[in-house]
């Protein structure tokens, strides 16, 4: 059985369930307690679990993440919220040089069961320092896991898996998805979504559309438009986690459709699309009827003006056009 929840509510449930289940789970972040979270994801948790387990922190991203690493090394399961992914840049040393590296560089003597939760994405006219889509940055780092849920059910299931994982997870939510509604299995049903398992949102034979985070939904809507207006049946694949990546599902889909479009909100150079395109042509070259096409955020710092911002973020029409270009001259 399931019910309709918003993405943020599904995350809240996941946190609540795991806090109840495991005494060593601990939350740290700016405004997560008294204020109930900048995006209300941690609403009510301070009230239920107290200020020892739900800790408001000063604005010290690097040290708070570092404390999360240290606490994870010595017996806790900390979940650090970085208010938005833009501020994760301040904590990159702790994320890359400590969280991702410690298990490996210390020869496997210790593990770092840390979750860093942070939303990404633009679209609210927040300007260049507050609109980043950084999934590709963390995808780049060995030693991390990277989750990019696009639906409430996946948000809950992947977060629970992340918290129980013994490895550091960068759990990337999306500001524009927090209000999205979706079906989520009932409480009491242990709903875990494994890492490394993509979801096929829609089956089709003509072209594969791969979208991450919010772009998974954009791709989905583009597929509907392709079917309704062009009679083209697109297969929509949502990777759900970028590390580990379910390459098998992606390759199987491209071998079936012979065409692929990757949609991401981030910048093109070294982006998710670049990585996937490389992998796809490595594993499915002889099945390609067209080059892999990427639809990405514009290669500029995110501008403020509405018209400019709109032009800088991929939309359904861009994905539709990209899909058509693999099939015929557009």
């Amino acid at each position: 059985m399931s019910r309709t929840l918003r993405y943020r509510e599904a995350l809240n449930e996941a946190l609540r369930e795991e806090l109840r289940r495991d005494e060593t789970v601990l939350l740290m972040g700016e405004d997560i307690g008294v204020y109930n979270g900048a995006f209300k994801v941690t609403e009510g948790l301070l009230a239920e679990f107290g200020d020892q387990r739900v800790r408001d922190t000063p604005i010290s991203e690097n040290t708070v993440v570092g404390m999360g690493v240290g606490a994870a090394m010595t017996g806790l399961r900390p979940i650090v919220e970085i208010m938005t992914i833009n501020f994760s840049l301040l904590a990159l040393d702790q994320i890359v040089n400590q969280a991702a590296s410690i298990r490996y560089m210390f020869g496997g003597q210790v593990q770092v069961p840390l979750v860093i939760r942070t939303p990404q994405g633009g679209g609210g006219q927040l300007g260049p320092t507050h609109s980043h889509t950084w999934e590709s940055l963390f995808l780049h780092v060995p030693g991390l896991h990277v989750a990019v849920p696009s639906t409430p059910a996946d948000a809950k299931g992947l977060l629970k898996t992340a918290i129980r994982s013994d490895d550091p997870v960068v759990f990337i939510e999306h500001e524009r998805l927090y209000g999205q509604r979706g079906e989520v299995p009932d409480e009491g049903e242990e709903h875990l979504v494994p890492f490394g398992q993509a979801a096929i949102r829609r089956a089709g034979d003509d072209v594969t559309l791969i979208g991450t985070s919010r772009m998974a939904l954009t791709a989905w809507r583009a597929a509907d438009q392709l079917a309704a207006e062009h009679g083209i049946q697109a297969e929509v694949v949502d990777p759900r986690t970028l590390r580990p990546l379910d390459l098998d599902t992606i390759v199987a889909s491209v071998r079936k459709t012979n065409r692929c479009v990757v949609v991401e909100e981030g910048w093109p150079n070294g982006g998710v699309g670049a990585t996937l395109a490389a992998l796809i042509q490595e594993h499915a070259f002889e099945w390609l009827d067209a080059p892999v096409v990427r639809v990405t955020g514009a290669d500029v710092p995110m501008p403020y003006a509405k018209s400019l911002e709109r032009a800088a973020v991929p939309r359904e029409a861009d994905v539709v056009r990209a899909a058509l270009s693999t099939l015929r001259d557009v």
């Binding site: 060593t24 570092g66 017996g75 040393d93 490996y104 560089m105 020869g107 490895d167």
Partner: protein, 332 residues
């Protein structure tokens, strides 16, 4: 100036005191040997030695309980040895061999011995201060009485993590002792060129952290002051800062020049060699004679010889193991 202070800190009993001197000799001889191997090109990358800081290290580490956490910088050979790591395994790590503490993954910069609660070994200046606060947080949450001792140099006190970690430790009442080894010089720059507030005790106070000071060249004083700070952290559940004033006998790392120091300064501090001053004190107290003292040193040399032999006999890691231990789970 320091003599008066010495009188306030009596020697521990003979056996303990002798062990301290022995441990200091072990560090000294290890660091000398490591420097030789580095000059020969058999140790690669960075080599940061603790020559001259033996008193700070032994004094402070001997104040720790077995279950307390110790975390330090990239200059940590002395710390691992002090905590009881086998010299052979430390040397093997420096040589990048399979039997090294970290199986050759870490080298000199990132030593780690989890079983002895030596928590690393970090290459980025100041990066481990947050980790230390994290260890203290976990100890607190798990209800243990363990305290974390976090050592770093004065250069790190200008990294953002210094302020952030002290602030958070004070805010959250974390049982952690931040110990600054003030060697007066960070890399090639004198401290005077780095810090607007040169007094570290004052700086700590600005973040709400009480501080103590000790002579880092005096192993007994360092021990006592550290013990006091640890006790405050353990019982009163709050952070402390200890400034240990020391002098490094060589450049910042084995590859750096000694240019900034004047010849007189160098000579003065050589008179302050902690092995000499402490050894003299033990002899004066009748605990040691010169012969036994000589034996201690030769014993240290012999143990280091063994360590090098062990390390050299250990194989280099197989490239097939390159991806081992990247994840604890089955992730990719």
């Amino acid at each position: 100036m320091f003599a008066a202070v010495m009188a306030d800190h009596p020697l521990p009993d003979a056996g303990v005191a002798t062990e301290w001197l022995q441990a200091m000799h072990l560090i000294r001889r290890f660091e000398e040997r490591a420097s030789e191997l580095y000059a020969q090109g058999r140790i690669g990358g960075f080599l940061h030695v603790s020559t001259g800081e033996e008193a700070t290290i032994i004094g402070s580490v001997r104040a720790l309980r077995e279950t307390d956490y110790l975390v330090s910088t990239y200059r940590a050979h002395g710390h691992t040895l002090a905590r009881g790591s086998e010299p052979g395994r430390v040397m093997a790590e420096l040589l990048g061999r399979v039997d090294g503490l970290c199986r050759g993954r870490a080298g000199s910069t990132h030593l780690f011995d989890g079983a002895r609660r030596f928590m690393g070994g970090y290459g980025i200046v100041g990066a481990h201060l947050p980790l230390a606060a994290g260890f203290a947080l976990a100890a607190d949450r798990l209800g243990t009485q363990d305290v974390t001792l976090c050592q770093f140099g004065d250069g790190a006190s200008n990294q953002a993590t210094f302020g952030e970690a002290l602030n958070l430790a004070a805010l959250w009442s974390l049982p952690v002792v931040f110990m600054v080894t003030n060697n007066r010089f960070a890399a090639a720059d004198a401290q005077d060129k780095e810090s607007s507030t040169k007094d570290l005790v004052k700086r700590a106070k600005g973040f709400g952290v009480k501080a103590l000071r000790c002579d880092g060249m005096d192993v007994v004083q360092t021990h006592d002051v550290t013990a006091e700070a640890l006790a405050v952290a353990r019982e009163e559940r709050r952070p402390m800062l200890v400034e240990a004033r020391t002098y490094r006998f060589r450049g910042h790392s084995a590859a750096d020049p000694d240019e900034e120091r004047t010849a007189e300064q160098l000579e003065e501090w050589r008179r302050r060699d902690p092995l000499v001053t402490f050894g003299d004190r033990l002899v004066k107290a009748g605990i040691l004679d010169d012969e036994r003292r000589g034996w201690l040193d030769r014993d240290a040399i012999a143990r280091i010889d063994e360590a090098v032999a062990f390390a050299e006999a250990s194989p280099e890691p197989d490239p097939q193991t390159l991806a081992d231990d990247l994840y604890a789970g089955s992730g990719r």
